[in-house]
Symmetry: C2
Subunit: 170 residues, 2 copies
DNA sequence: ATATTTATTGAGACTCATTATCAATAATAC
DNA sequence: GTATTATTGATAATGAGTCTCAATAAATAT
């Protein structure tokens, strides 16, 4: 179980080690701890949360190192930024994950991923129409999840904050 | 010309004045200056840029007032937030503007607006499939505009910065 | 008009996410 | 092992955005 836990992240960790070496950088225990933690599950994450997860497991890594490692992981194609509107950046794994978009509850913040073949088609048609060389798209659908849908049941769980709001971002 | 310049913003300005009054707030010269500046064109804008535009025209309004007026304009349905990934919020007019999405150049930051009937259909189908009560969507297509397309002509105009990058956001 | 009430203003303090600095440390190469 | 130099952690700095508060000025009543 504990052994298996990190088994599936071996590809990512290996890819990172190679990237570091190719770039003439150095593999360090801090970086190992950070990527092990990131790839110990498939969830979206943010820098602060990642830092706290490490800290709670007594893996002492400075916040600065967490912030410094994230761009390396982006550069080597293991993660990418996702934009929720809660005022700070979130990230998700991309290595071994097919491209997808997000459905997000504006009440509790929960996120559901979806993929649809029609989206890249649409993207390309629209790009061509406006003379753009399209490289990517971001499609986010906002609304209420079944738990939060107004009219029925509990909608009192909503806790909007400052700008946008956070929530259990799966 | 100068008279005409603000003619088309009369609806917006009037709507704002009424909203302020209905809410028991007060119309002030500062607020007038801010909304006149915002609706003096149809462009996207951000708080800092708006503040500087006012300042350059010798319309002295504090940054705090700029930041305080924006939420009022959102509440009364005149503008809304748009999310570009350059680390701060942008806004656009919605009163009298049909819903649209953005095509954005990752090189120079230029923005083209587009609308497509298939998008709301897609949004609703996907929402239904995942048991979400959909309220809105955000679809952004990223790529290179014709000026910046790699391979031909000038791509040296790219000036990426910190996180994402700014540019001439039309 | 004048007074009263209270929303608004501007300046600056503050927050929070993120980035930069820098001396001490520790990977790698020789 | 020694030299080189990337990395670390602590902390300062930044920058967008918010909050505070005393002074000001709309709206309204007198
Ligand atoms: Zn929900
Ligand atoms: Zn995702
Ligand atoms: Zn361009
Ligand atoms: Zn727009």
């Amino acid at each position: 179980m504990s052994l298996n836990k990190y088994r599936f992240a071996m590809d990512e960790i290996q890819k990172f080690r190679e990237y570091i070496r190719e770039k003439g950088l150095r593999n360090t225990p801090e970086r190992e701890l950070i990527i092990e933690e990131i790839f110990s599950n498939h969830d979206h994450f943010d820098a602060e949360g990642l830092f706290l997860r490490l800290r709670n497991k007594m893996k002492r890594v400075s916040k600065a190192s967490v912030y410094r490692t994230i761009p390396l992981l982006i550069e080597c194609g293991l993660i990418k930024e996702v934009y929720f509107e809660d005022g700070h950046l979130h990230y998700e794994h991309i290595y071994g994950h097919r491209h997808h978009c997000h459905l997000r509850c504006i009440c509790c913040g929960s996120v559901v991923e979806f993929a649809d073949d029609r989206i890249p088609r649409l993207q390309n048609q629209i790009g061509k129409k406006h003379d753009f060389l399209v490289t990517s798209h971001r499609f986010e659908i906002l609304g209420y999840c079944s738990e939060c849908a107004p009219g029925q049941g509990m909608q009192g769980t909503c806790r909007p904050s400052g700008r946008g709001h956070a929530g259990n971002q799966g």
